[in-house]
Symmetry: C2
Subunit: 258 residues, 2 copies
Amino acid sequence: MNHIVSIINQKGGVGKTTSTINLGCAFANLGQKILIIDLDPQGNASTGVGIENNDRDNSIYKLLNERNNLQHYVKTTKIENLDIICANVELSGFETEVAEVKNRAFILKEILGDLKEKNQYNQILIDCPPSLSLLTVMALVASNSVIVPLQAEFFALEGLTQLLKTINRIKSSLNKRLEVEGIVLTMFDKRNKLCSQVEDEARKFFGEQVYQTMIPRNIRISEAPSHGLPALVYDKYCAGSIAYEKLALEIIDKQKKF
Amino acid sequence: MNHIVSIINQKGGVGKTTSTINLGCAFANLGQKILIIDLDPQGNASTGVGIENNDRDNSIYKLLNERNNLQHYVKTTKIENLDIICANVELSGFETEVAEVKNRAFILKEILGDLKEKNQYNQILIDCPPSLSLLTVMALVASNSVIVPLQAEFFALEGLTQLLKTINRIKSSLNKRLEVEGIVLTMFDKRNKLCSQVEDEARKFFGEQVYQTMIPRNIRISEAPSHGLPALVYDKYCAGSIAYEKLALEIIDKQKKF
Ligand SMILES: Nc1ncnc2c1ncn2[C@@H]1O[C@H](COP(=O)(O)OP(=O)(O)OP(=O)(O)O)[C@@H](O)[C@H]1O
Ligand SMILES: Nc1ncnc2c1ncn2[C@@H]1O[C@H](COP(=O)(O)OP(=O)(O)OP(=O)(O)O)[C@@H](O)[C@H]1O
Ligand SMILES: [Mg+2]
Ligand SMILES: [Mg+2]
């Protein structure tokens, strides 16, 4: 219970938010109780599950400051079994505001400790911003594991080694239990030879860590957020939704073996 | 001379680096002397102009610490008239390291002051990371203007209003001369109705600020970085290269009217 996973990659636009929303929805459809934590000041995950901008007063920013009373910040969504703690732009000031605070890297871990006794969620997914700053470090310290979306592009592949080094550094200094659950190829276009090259390189270097399931580039996925819905709700039978459902099953299968 | 432009958007993966490299190359081909400053710890702009990872000792991180001797950090590239100050992962520690330093937002502006007397470059393009943190604030304080790449997707459009608010905040508090030169639509796919919707919204809200020239989604653009070349060199006649050359002419034309 309460398996905490960070969806992370410092490279921008690789599908972190899209994976958090659609995996969250796929796990919820399988009967798991899921909490998404939006840890990006852009608030894209909150938008993607339909939380209006003017309905985000009880945001993760306020919770990180209050450090207590987590239930007050949890919102239900239109999707059964899927809750969220949303984010707004106030969060972008947090890092500077706590620069002097000792042990600031542990703030989120302490807050999520509250959940431990209650066994309320099967999984907690944290959508990280595109950087290796304090917000991301807090997520890594609070997590049991990470899932890394890897866009099938050259710049994204180049950044992966650096990311895994950072994760290992956090593991040895701040969070011994942290594991890399897996790497998922996103926006994969079979017709584009660059994508196949990235896939080959990723499987060569990272082997079993790369999931068999790949997420195809699929227009319906990028249309869904404008309707405030995960792709799995907006268009359940599109190639993107089917891929995320398959990925959810592969992840659960692999988690059982952990 | 020495017109300093930040290429900025806190949304990740919208084409900041791709636009910096290819606009830089297009301006250089038109006979302008151009300096690119890579201000992203990912170092993608440095990779995109062919600077190897092991050749980045004299990086922007060292220059920001030394605060002097800028010429020492400038590297020439394979492209005539195009120089770069490169970045490496050390840069990701900079923000925490200077958290106590007074007036840290002005560090880059002071360093670029050195160039003012020498009139060495027509334009200086700063490739910003996907965040509104100190590195981005330093770039905005040091710049005359900004160019905003806008990916033709819903999440990217949603973040634009917030970005323009931040730019205005910096303009009124730290840099009175800062202007928005323009907004350029990137990864535009005519067949995708979402792209046309984003274009319509952008032109409706931001009018003349949106350039007429749009950059099409074009596989050759995403292949070029793996060869360490701008698309304009890798494949001069592909749709992406032609679009960046047209955009460069439109920008210069508009700059004359400033
Ligand atoms: N498989 C896909 N097919 C088509 N479009 C996709 C796919 N996955 C994501 N997108 C679109 O690509 C853009 C980037 O995805 P997303 O915002 O999820 O990435 P991110 O890593 O969370 O970005 P950031 O670094 O800004 O947080 C979005 O507009 C999204 O709708
Ligand atoms: N017009 C285009 N057509 C096709 N691919 C593109 C285009 N522009 C950029 N790309 C690709 O999309 C990805 C994202 O672009 P890029 O890295 O330039 O964005 P960025 O905003 O600099 O990202 P970050 O937020 O991580 O700094 C890259 O892999 C790049 O090669
Ligand atoms: Mg995101
Ligand atoms: Mg970039």
